[in-house]
Symmetry: C2
Subunit: 377 residues, 2 copies
C-alpha cells in the first residue's frame, strides 16, 4: 500500500455553512506573474518577484521598515527569536490565549514559553500587568511575545515604553493583523496563510525598523549565507519560492478592492448582530481594521452551548484558540501563572462564519441560529 | 527608506555560461491545476492537490512507502530527526562533504553533527568505515545521516545491515537524488527545490515504509495536530500550499519527458568529455540515473585552477560543497574526525554547467575551456 501521510483535519459537512471560506487570487490574477517566472527562469532564492513582494510589504509600514519573508509566520517567530540571540532555555512571556503556533515557535527556538493571562477587554497581554508579573517569574525572562488578538493591534507605544523600561526583547505576533499592522518600530510577524485576510497559501514575514535583525533573519532563512556560500551563522532553509511570491503579488494587486469587500461583509455582520447585544464584536472589528475571522464574545458559559446550537442549524463555528495553549498536551509541562481571564474567554468567545463574500442570507442564518442558544438575547 | 531584506546571492555575469539553468513547469503546464484550486477554494492544510502529489511521489517507491511533504528538504531532515526522538544533544554522524543544509538540519533538531570522512570513490559515507569510527566517537552517537552524493544513491542494503547491527537510527539525505531514490526501506529525504531534477520552487519530502514515522513527521508539520486542533506533540508549521502542489503535479506530468531530456543532455556532456580522461564523471551519472548537476573529478589540486580557467572563458562553475561543512563558521565548533578524503575531494571536484536544455555548443565551450587548465588532459 502506498499512501499519502495525510492528517485528517476538520472539513465542512455538506449543506453546512463553513466558519471560513478563504478566497485567494484566481489563476487569471496570478498568470501574468507566472509568465514573468517562465521568462526569467528564476524560481527561488530571492528572485525578482520575491524582492518586489518584500518591497511592497515594507511600503505599508512606517519609515525604515524592512520586510523579510519567511515560509510561514510560525517559523518567522522562531527564526526571529533565534536571531535575537536570547539565552538558551530562558523564558519568553506569552499569552496562553493564542493559537498554539505562538507557543510552538518559542519552543522550537530552544526557549521556554511562560504562559501569562490576558486583559479581558482586549484579549491581549497588558504591558503593565506583564511588568508586575516579572517579579514572580519562575526563571530568567529574556523576551515577551504579545499576540495581536484575531487581527486587532495592541498599544504599540505602551510596548515600546515597556521595552525601554525593562530592557527585554519584545516580538509581536500579529499573525492575523495584516490590515492593522502598520508600525515597524516593534519587530512584528504577520501571517500570509490562506486563512488570513491577505493570503498566498503558506507564508509570512517579519517587519522591523531594525535592519540588522531583519538581515539576520534573512540569512537564517538561507543557511546562514550572506553573499557567499559559506554558512556564517546557524540557520535553516525558510525561503519562499517565486511561485509563492507570484500569488502574493496578485493578492496585493487585489488588496484595495478586497479590503473593501471584507469591510462590507463586516458591516452586514454588524447589522445582523445589532439586535443581539449579548454577542459583542471586538472593538474596531471590520471598521477600524479588517480581518478574516469574526470573533464574538457571548455571555460567560455560552461558548459551548452556542457551538452546539449553531451546528444544529448547520452553522459551523470555531473556538479558534480552544481553551488556551496551556491545556494542549504539547505544552502541559511549561510554566504558567493563574489564567482566570483565559478561562473566562474560553467559555465565552467563538468564531462565527465569515468570508470576503459572505452573503446577507448567510448572516441572517448565523444570527437566527445564534439566537436559539439559551442565554443569548 | 523601505527595503527588502534581500541577500546578495551569486548571479551570472552577462555573456557567461551559468553553472545551472533550472527550468520548472511553465505557466501553461500549471494553469489547469490552478483552476482546480479556484474551484475548490482550498489553498493549504493538506488539500486535494497536495494529497495527490504525495500519492504520486509515494508510488515511485517500493511497496509500503508513505510520502510526507515538507516545506523543504532541510526542514524534512530536521523534523524527521526530531520525530525519531533522539537524546537531546547526542551526536549524529554525517559527512562533512555535503551541502551545509545537512549540518544545519542536525543542529536545528537540537542534535550535534559529528563530521566524518567519506569514501573517495563514492564521495559518500561508507557504513563499514562509520562502524569502525563509532568506537572513537567523542560522545553518544544516536544516528547516522549519510548523504546521496550529487544524486547518486549509496548502497541501501549495506545501510540496512548497518542499522540492524548497530541499532542506530539511519536517515538518508538524498536531496539531489529524486531520480535514483526508489527504495523506502531506509527513511529518505528528497528535495524538490528549483535547482533539483524535479523542482517545484521550494519543497521536499520524507519517504519511508515506517508509517508511524511518516505520520509523526506529518503531525510535526502541522502544529502537532492529528484530526483535532489540539497540539499533541511539539512541532511547527512546515506545510506546502496547494499552489506549490500544483507546480509539483505539473512537474510530475512532465517528468517522463524531462527525464529523457536530462539523459540526452548528459550524453552530450559524456561525448564532449570523452577525450578528456582526467575529468571523470560520477559512476552511473546520466545513464543509470539523472540529476541536475554535472560534477566532475579532476586531478588533485585542479579544482581552483579549473575554476579560474573556465571563468576566464566565461564558463561558470561551482564547487557545490565548498571545502566541506566543517570549515563553515557556523560549524567550526562541532566535533570531527580527520578528513583527508574530504580535503582531497575539495581540491579536485567541481560542478560544470549543466541544464535540461544544455546545447551541444555549450558542452563544446565547457570542454574547450576546461582543457586550457594546466594539468587537465
Amino acid at each position: 500500500m502506498r499512501t499519502a501521510a495525510n492528517a485528517k483535519l476538520p472539513t465542512t459537512a455538506p449543506g453546512n455553512l463553513p466558519v471560513a471560506r478563504p478566497r485567494l487570487p484566481s489563476a487569471d490574477d496570478i498568470l501574468p506573474y507566472l509568465r514573468r517566472i517562465d521568462d526569467a527562469r528564476w524560481y527561488s532564492n530571492f528572485g525578482p518577484l520575491l524582492t518586489e513582494l518584500e518591497l511592497r510589504l515594507a511600503s505599508r509600514f512606517t519609515d525604515g521598515a524592512v520586510a523579510s519573508t519567511v515560509v510561514n509566520a510560525t517559523q518567522a517567530l522562531t527564526l526571529t527569536l533565534q536571531a535575537m540571540d536570547l539565552p538558551a532555555g530562558s523564558l519568553v512571556a506569552t499569552p496562553s490565549w493564542t493559537f498554539v503556533a505562538t507557543a510552538h515557535a518559542i519552543a522550537q527556538a530552544g526557549l521556554t514559553p511562560w504562559f501569562l493571562d490576558v486583559d479581558h477587554a482586549s484579549q491581549m497581554l497588558d504591558p503593565a500587568l506583564v511588568r508586575e508579573m516579572l517579579a514572580r517569574a519562575p526563571g530568567k525572562v529574556s523576551a515577551v511575545l504579545p499576540v495581536a488578538a484575531h487581527g486587532a493591534m495592541p498599544d504599540i507605544e505602551a510596548w515600546l515604553a515597556f521595552r525601554d523600561e525593562t530592557g527585554l526583547a519584545v516580538l509581536l505576533d500579529a499573525a492575523a493583523a495584516f490590515d492593522a499592522a502598520r508600525d515597524a518600530r516593534l519587530p512584528t510577524v504577520v501571517s500570509l496563510h490562506a486563512t488570513k485576510v491577505l493570503g498566498l497559501g503558506e507564508g509570512g514575514f517579519l517587519v522591523t525598523d531594525d535592519a540588522a535583525l531583519a538581515f539576520r533573519v534573512r540569512r537564517m532563512t538561507t543557511y546562514g549565507f550572506n553573499g557567499t556560500r559559506e554558512a556564517q551563522i546557524p540557520g535553516t532553509n525558510a525561503k519562499l519560492s517565486e511561485y509563492t511570491a507570484a500569488v502574493g503579488l496578485a493578492a496585493l494587486d487585489r488588496w484595495p478592492a478586497d479590503r473593501l469587500r471584507f469591510f462590507l461583509a463586516a458591516q452586514h455582520t454588524r447589522i445582523g448582530l445589532a439586535m443581539t447585544p449579548s454577542a459583542s464584536l471586538q472593538s474596531g472589528w471590520g471598521s477600524d481594521w479588517v480581518t478574516s475571522v469574526c470573533v464574538v464574545r457571548l455571555p460567560e458559559g455560552c461558548a459551548d452551548p452556542a457551538t452546539e446550537a449553531l451546528l444544529g442549524h448547520g452553522v459551523e463555528t470555531r473556538r479558534w484558540w480552544g481553551d488556551g495553549c496551556h491545556l494542549s498536551a504539547a505544552f502541559a509541562g511549561y510554566p504558567r501563572t493563574d489564567l482566570p481571564v483565559t478561562e473566562r474567554l474560553s467559555r465565552s468567545v467563538i468564531g462565527l462564519p465569515f468570508a470576503i463574500d459572505l452573503a446577507r442570507e448567510d448572516v441572517d442564518r448565523v444570527v437566527l441560529a445564534l439566537r436559539t442558544t439559551p442565554g443569548i438575547a
